[in-house]
Structure formats: C-alpha cells, structure tokens
Amino acid sequence: MADAGRHPNITIHTLSEVVDVKGYVGNFNVRVLKKARYVDEKQCTSCGECSNVCPVVFPDEFNMGLSSRKAVYIPFPQAVPSSYVVNMNECMGRGCSKCLEVCDKKCIQFHMSDETINVKAGSIIVATGLEPYDPREMDEYGYTRFENVVTSLEFERLVNAGGPTKGDVIRPKDRKHPESVGFIQCVGSRSKKKGGEYCSNVCCMNTIKSSLVLKEHNPDISVKVFYMDIRAFGKGFEELYNRSRRSGVQYLRGLPGSVEELDNGSMRVAVENTATGRIEFHDLDMLVLALGIKPSNGTRKLQEMLGLQLNPDGFYLEAHPKLQPVDAATRGIFYAGCAEGPKDIKESVTQGTAAAARAVRLMHKGAITSEPITSMVIESQCKSCGICAEVCPYNAISVDVKKKIPAKVNTAACAGCGTCAAECQFGSIVMNHFTDEQILSQVDTMLGENAMDKILTFACNWCSYAGADYAGVSRLQYPPNARLIRTMCSGRVDEKFIWHAFEKGAPVVLVSGCHIGDCHYIDANHWTRKRIEKVRKKMAKKGIRPERLQLEWISAAEGVRFSNVMADMEKLRQKVSTEEIAETAKILAKKDQKTTRESGHA
C-alpha cells in the first residue's frame, strides 16, 4: 500500500469514481469525479489534532461500526494517502470550526469542491472488488436481533490488534470474553434461495484461520464450525485445516436451522448434524457468520459504461474462462481480483500481476493496430440523409444534411458494428468483412437445399454467438437444424437479409444479440429492436405471420438460454407448413416485381 502511495509513476485519486468512458483501445478518455476531501492531502501530517477536538461522533466504517470516529477522521492508521478527511454530511460546518482552529498547517479547507478529472489511458484494469453479503436477509441466524451474532468481517476487526478492542476478543453485548464461539459457513453462498448459488471461495479458509487465531488467544476456548463442505483446495490449505482440527476445533456437518438467545446472552443453535442424523442443540457464547462474496455495488454501472459482460452471478465475464482469464471481451480492458469472481488474496495478487502483464503486452509498442472491420461510404450513392450519423453509437460518421455533403466515416472511431450499413436506405454504406453480398451468399447457400428444415439464426459475435459457444462448451444439446450466421452486432442485420431469407424459403428467422443495456457497441441493439418491430409490422400487413421472425437477447454466459431458444425455434418451425412457405415466397416475389417495374418507370 505504502509503495503504491509513494511510487512516482502512480497517481492515486481517492473518493473518486469513473463517471464516463469514451474512446477505444489505446485511447480511452475517462472522466473521473473526485469528491472533495476538505483536507489538503499533501499538507496533512496526520497529527490528529482536528479529530481530537471534533465534537461529532459517528460509527467507524472501517471497524464495521464496532467503534466510533469523528466527522473529521483518518480511515485507519496506515491509510494511503495518509491524510484526514471531513465527512461534510456529518460536519457541523462553519458554526463549529474547532478543527480549523487547531490545524497548524491550515490544511482543512471547507471551501474545497468536487472536481472533474479527465484521464487519457491506453488500457483499463477493472479491480472493483467485492461487497460482503448482507446477512439481514437470512434472519434465521438472528443477525439483526442478537448482538452476539457478528459477521466474519466484524470478527476480523475484533481479533485485530489494530481493531477497536486492540485484539482482545470480547463479545459485543456484555464485553465478556467468550468461552465458546460458533461459526456458520456459507452465509449467502451456495443457496438457491438466498444470496448466491456459487461458492464464495474464501469463507472456509477464513474460518479455519479465525479458529486458529482464537485458539492462539485462548487454547481452552471451545470452537465449533457448522458447515456443509469444507473446501481446502489450495496450497497449504489442507495443512491449515488439519492444524485447526488438531488444536481441538470441532467441525460439525450441518447448517443451523435457527438461533435463539439465552438469558445469559449466549446463543442456542439448533442444527441437524448430518453425520449422526440427529437434531442437536449447541449453546455458544458468540456466533460468527461466514459471509459470502457479492460483486461490488458499482459493477452494473461500470459494466454499462465500458460495454462489458457479466456472468449470471453478477461478476465480470472474462473473454475466455481458461485461456484469457483476465481479458475482457473489449480490447484494452482487463480484470483483476474479486471483480471477476470471488477469490482470496493470493489469487487476487496473481490476477493483478497478470492484468498488468496483459496491459504491458498491449502498450509496449506505443502504437496499436486497428481492426479494419469498419464501414465505408460509397460517396456517389450517398444522399446525405444523415441516418447513418444518427444511428452510429460512436459518433464516427459525419454528414452535412443541409449542404448535402456525403457521409464520411472516421475509421479510428468506428468500432465496426455495421448498424449504419443496415439502416442506410440507399445501399451506400459497405460494412467491410460483413458486406450485404457476403452475408446474403451465406443465406443463399444455407437455404439452397431443404430450406424448410432450417432454423436461420443471425447471432452477434459478442453475446449470442458466444452464448452458443458456451452451450457447446457445456455440451448442451439442441436441434441440429439450427444454422448460425455471425455478424459483429445484431445491429448489422439488415431488413433485406430477413426478406431475402423468407423469399428463399426460410420457415423461421431468429435475430439474436446482447441484452438491452449490454450491447458491445453501446446501444446499437436498440436499432435492432426498432428494426425487427418494423419488419414484423410489415410482415403482418403483407399476410406473413410475424411470429416467424423472432428476436432474442442471449448473453455470452447464457448457454442454457441459447439451447432453450433453439428448442423453441424448432417448435415454431414445425408449425410452418410447406404451403405457407411457398405463399410467403410468392408474396415477396410479387413485391420484388413491383419494385422493379416502378424503378423501370422512373
């Protein structure tokens, strides 16, 4: 920590949050909101005089509310930056000003205001950490009702030499030294009902550690651990577990059903011991809940800003679970620590180092090669209508509608979603590597033989195509007549691809993309949705059943959903008769003739 604080290459902005991200790999423009500290962190010597005179008392967050702090405070003695901070919502303001008077260096400045900082960066590492599970939801353990039921993090502060009791373990209600302590495992983990369904990875080992700390403090203390499975899978873990058992810690297989408080403030735990098959009651002076790990609160907001994906548990989704464990699917963004999933310190450090190496690998040349999959305007055909510029999520297209100056694409800013090409009414935009001809040739070949048996699916590269891959990796079986055509974004799926497919005999067409809000191209899939709605309305008008065109959002982690959607599409396909397909082809062919005639007249 201290190393990071004094490193000449590191700038630390605390009390800060990312509020906006623009740009792309190599050249991100990030806006950071830095909230006022009201103390000049460079001048402050952490003498603490201000805090001594401050009359306002609040619970100390760092000690999990087990002690108090003032409105001007230092989060903890080793804090970096080593500076006090004023919580303005708590401070009595100018009416008091006691701290201002005692600060010799005059570092406390009430007039300080929030500032916005613009950061240019070539790469971004997302290390947003975790949020402990809120145990109030699992009230059978009595966290809200009984003072002597504490969380694992509160316990951490109680045994810490730097904590509120200076490491003297006492129970909160009567400050007595407990003679027996119970630990309940998997609070908020591995449950379909409450908390997460996943294993939080660290709680078993954390409890084993805590049990040893207790035994070190007092070898005669009775420690009981209620668990469903002990997972001691890491290097040196089993050894620690054995040490804990040898020191007399009792491990009981079974999670308690209820907790009651006894007259002496102790806890009575009712548990079915699954080893003996009996209901047992254990009286314990104090109870510790081993909290699971949840994604940090800002995860969703940052995910939208950066265009990232989340797994079903709410943690960031890596580009590949084994081969690219710290890369985001978006180039130039990497993950480290619990942001990507629950993990212990060693793993977090490993990932931090890995993310740094990946960032160096990207940046060391000082230049970056851009993907050539961008759009191109055929100037001679462009009518300067401006729709392409309107739909572009990256503002990469400029066009002067009034002066009728044709559209122009800034290829460095173009990310290659292809929405402009799909929305252009005049066929004046070519999407490189995903041209109309290239995609239509895939459609034609697919439908060249036995068209009526096939499920034509357009899938976006980042979510639904990846979701199909995930179904594959999970060996989920689905109807073998599904055929995927990959586009970079569902926004590329031109109306004419759909009409062409139906004319060529497709019984059903599925367009699939990222969930709204998760689009890899900011919000390009909004245009997909609008377009599909429009096409379905037109289908109804023409006498073609609109249900034959489906739109589904499937994320990269939703392999199960992908296979279910395919099964549903197959059911839908079976309801489309040969006659219906022939009728559709006839309707659409007629329309083609009509347009040819019309253009002939013109």
Partner: protein, 207 residues
Amino acid sequence: MSLNIAPETSCENGARIGVYVCRCGLNIAQTVDCEKVAQSAKGIDGVVMAKDIAYACSEPGQMEIREDIREHDLDRIVVGSCSPRLHEITFRRMMHQAGLNPYLLEMANLREQCSWVHMKEPAAATLKAEDLIKMSISRVRLLYPLYEETIPLTKRTLVIGAGVAGIQAALDLADSGYEVVMVEKSPSIGGTMAQLDKTFPTMDCSI
C-alpha cells in the same frame, strides 16, 4: 489422414480455395464424419483442395496448410474447426505467415456449434457440418483483402479500484515504467484486504 485433392479448378473471380476440416482429435471427429464433410466440399466452384486434418491449430497442422498454400497457389482458406472466437487470430496469423491477407480466411464452427451440441445425432451433425462448410465457401469467395491501420496509443493505464488486486497491477505497471492512474471510491486505498487481521494460509498480517 486422407488426402482429398480435388481437380484443380478456379471460380469466376479466380479464387483458389483450400478447405480444411479439423478433427480436433476426437472432439469433432467422434460426432462428425470429417472425411465425408471434406469430400462434400470437393468440386464446389473455386475449391482447389479439401481435406480433413487432425489438429488444424497445432504447428504441424498450420504448417501443412501453409505448405498447401504455397504448393497449390491457394488464395483463400476455409477452416472448419472450433469457434472463431477461439482461433480466428491463430489462423489469421497463419495466413499472414503464408503471405496471404489474413482477412481471406473464414471459419466454420464445427466443434462448439456442431459436434458438441449434437452428440447423439451424428448424421444430422455431419449434415450440418457440410452446410456450415458450404456457407463458409460461399462467403470466403466474396471476401476481399483488408489492411490494418496503425494508430497512436497512450502509454498509461487506468486502474479502477485500489484493493489488493488493483494495487498489485498498479505497482507492476509502474515498476515497468508505465504511468498509472488509480481511482478509488473510498478515502484510502487498501480495499477489503486492509480490514483483515491475519491471512491464510501463512497467518501473516495483511497490510
């Protein structure tokens, strides 16, 4: 491995296509009849060569394709193997090494979206694989070379979150000579780690 060299043909735009059906050991071959799929590609307009191959992504596999490119003057390649999300970069690099434009490559996803998801229906899976290869051939014929642009880059990393993982990443980058900007929402860096007492498995202090 069977060599299924089709009579030398070229299509309208003169494309000379090589088609490779990867068996991926048994990952694809246990469900999909790879030899049959390769056979089905033979004779399609522009396909000069079509064969199945044990591991297309392995160095011997890539070398074989590169040699074919040289020997048969191939200018476009279809690889039917795993997901392009996994190995498109690998095969684009191979194209580049063989002197071809990397964007004249098309992949058919015969593993994640064929053999692994239709394991109990080998005939239907093989039929689907043939379709996917044919679709790729149609597409590869219409691909044209694309060229990457080099753009300048800012040698600076933004680290969001200053817990143990963020600090480690920042220190490694800073020690390697890169500028790092850390953004932390609380008043101090350190994250959850700073609140812990001793840490497992070595029982030492966290800060």
